[in-house]
């Protein structure tokens, strides 16, 4: 029944209460960052909803994969075989070049690069919120995912891990307005910073001097500075360079090489050793403590060399 006389606090009081609660949450979450740990638990708590929301899409994908003619399958198989042949051939070349590079590096007494551990992750959901560019993947702390981990697809850098839940985690994309990647021009090594512009097909570069040698069409790769991203992965391609002398800096825009709006599978990278002194520690949640100690010892010996 609808009571004629209402019980409890008036709507005004309720509103004032929840607005104050919101203000406090925004302050502590945004300014202080005190919810970083709690976010992980919240993420695990709501992940059933995400799995549920993902079912229709998965059904569609399943149907599309199963309702396919034999002819299409054969054609696809052939195309893949040809591709594999090409890749095998390139792999052989790469193997030789890698050996040669290692030899040269040891001659120069610079630290060897080792293979990185990788893991494939599938996308659970992409955020519908236009203000943040984030997505959720089906790997979490149980798989050893850690905060700040680099995420790539087959073309290039996609983003990094923002919050880790137990079975799912959140990835912030390079196009998010709050995200930036240190990059260099692969042609000549000029260093830039690629800022997200809040648009899927655009990255902006601030504070580029007019004298910088950047041309439209240049490929930008991660520079490894900052320690979050391993060095040398493609990030974006320069699409516009405007050198207007009346402005203090040149205007440079680029387009991410990863197809950020068409992602499905992603690759998580575990660098074997920190790429710089600012590199994040290996996840504290990981069980093998020995590994961590070993890493530190390795780092120390590297430094002493």
């Amino acid at each position: 029944m609808n009571p004629i006389f209402k019980h409890g606090p008036s709507p005004q009081h309720r509103l004032a209460f929840v607005l104050m609660l919101s203000a406090a949450l925004v302050f502590f979450d945004h300014r202080m960052g005190s919810f970083e740990g709690v976010r992980g638990y919240l993420q695990s708590l709501v992940s059933p909803l995400q799995y549920m929301a993902n079912t229709p899409k998965q059904l569609m994908t399943w149907a599309a994969e199963n309702l396919i003619t034999r002819k299409q399958l054969i054609e696809e198989n052939q195309a893949l075989k040809i591709n594999e042949l090409n890749y095998q051939q390139q792999m052989m070349e790469l193997e030789i070049v890698k050996k040669e590079n290692e030899r040269l590096r040891s001659l120069l007494a610079s630290p060897l690069r080792s293979d990185t551990k990788k893991m494939v992750a599938e996308i659970l959901s992409v955020d519908s919120d236009p203000y943040t560019h984030q997505l959720v993947i089906n790997r979490g702390a149980n798989d050893g995912v850690y905060e700040g981990q680099a995420v790539i697809d087959e073309q290039g850098i996609v983003g990094q891990i923002l919050h880790v839940g137990t079975t799912s985690s959140r990835v912030i994309l390079i196009t998010d307005v709050t995200h930036a990647v240190p990059v260099r021009v692969s042609r000549n090594g000029t260093r830039l910073v690629a800022n997200g512009a809040g648009r899927i097909e655009r990255l902006s570069h601030a504070h580029v001097p007019h004298s910088a040698d950047v041309q439209s069409g240049d490929l930008l790769v991660t520079s490894g500075l900052g320690g979050k991203y391993p060095e040398g992965y493609p990030v974006s391609q320069v699409i516009l360079v405007r050198k207007d002398e009346s402005r203090p800096f040149a205007q440079v825009l680029s387009k991410p090489v990863a197809q950020i709006d068409k992602l499905r599978y992603l690759l998580l990278l575990w660098p074997n050793k920190p790429t710089s002194i600012f590199a994040p520690k290996p996840s504290e949640k990981s069980t093998n403590q020995n590994d961590k100690v070993e890493n530190q010892v390795k780092g120390a010996t590297n430094a002493s060399e």
């Binding site: 925004v26 993420q43 929301a53 307005v177």
Partner: protein, 159 residues
């Protein structure tokens, strides 16, 4: 909250939350209606003693976690928009369906602008007209959701 088939209210809110995070093609995504807001407005008009500002805030908070935005942003915007509907529920109930739809449109626009303003304070996002496309789809959706939820409410005798 859960007495008298109140579980149906919670279920409808959960469905709305799922609908608002369901993956969609990028072109359609910009037009995604505000499922959660519409369902909340309906329940706060129909049963103002059961669904109120606090319900709206909690649902908005869940949305915040799911969307990965700063905690409290969607919650505050949702609470404010639903507050306006809840305070004027006796007036809005007497309007025709299309007039109600227009009011829902105004509330949806307010919701999106509030979220934008708060995001603008926190990070330097830029306003794009496409942020307000959901208002149009919400207006179109309101009569259908209203009729459906009224049927549900009468069938399950939620009061």
């Amino acid at each position: 909250m859960l007495a008298n088939n109140g579980i149906i209210i919670v279920l409808s809110l959960l469905l709305a939350v799922i609908a608002s995070i369901m993956p969609m093609p990028l072109d359609v995504d910009a037009f995604r209606p505000d499922w959660v807001l519409i369902v909340l407005i309906y329940w706060s008009l129909a049963l103002p003693s059961r669904v109120n500002v606090v319900t709206a805030w909690v649902t908005g908070f869940i949305l915040d976690v799911l969307l990965g935005s700063t905690l409290g942003v969607h919650a505050a915007a949702m609470a404010l928009s639903v507050y306006i509907a809840a305070v004027n529920f006796q007036k809005i109930r007497n309007f025709s369906l299309w007039q109600q739809a227009l009011i829902v449109g105004v509330l949806a626009a307010l919701y999106h602008l509030l979220v934008f303003w708060m995001q603008r304070l926190l990070t330097d996002v830029v306003f794009l007209p496409s942020y307000l496309y959901p208002v149009l789809t919400s207006i179109v959706l309101w009569p259908w959701v209203f009729l459906l939820l009224r049927k549900v409410r009468r069938h399950f005798k939620i009061s």
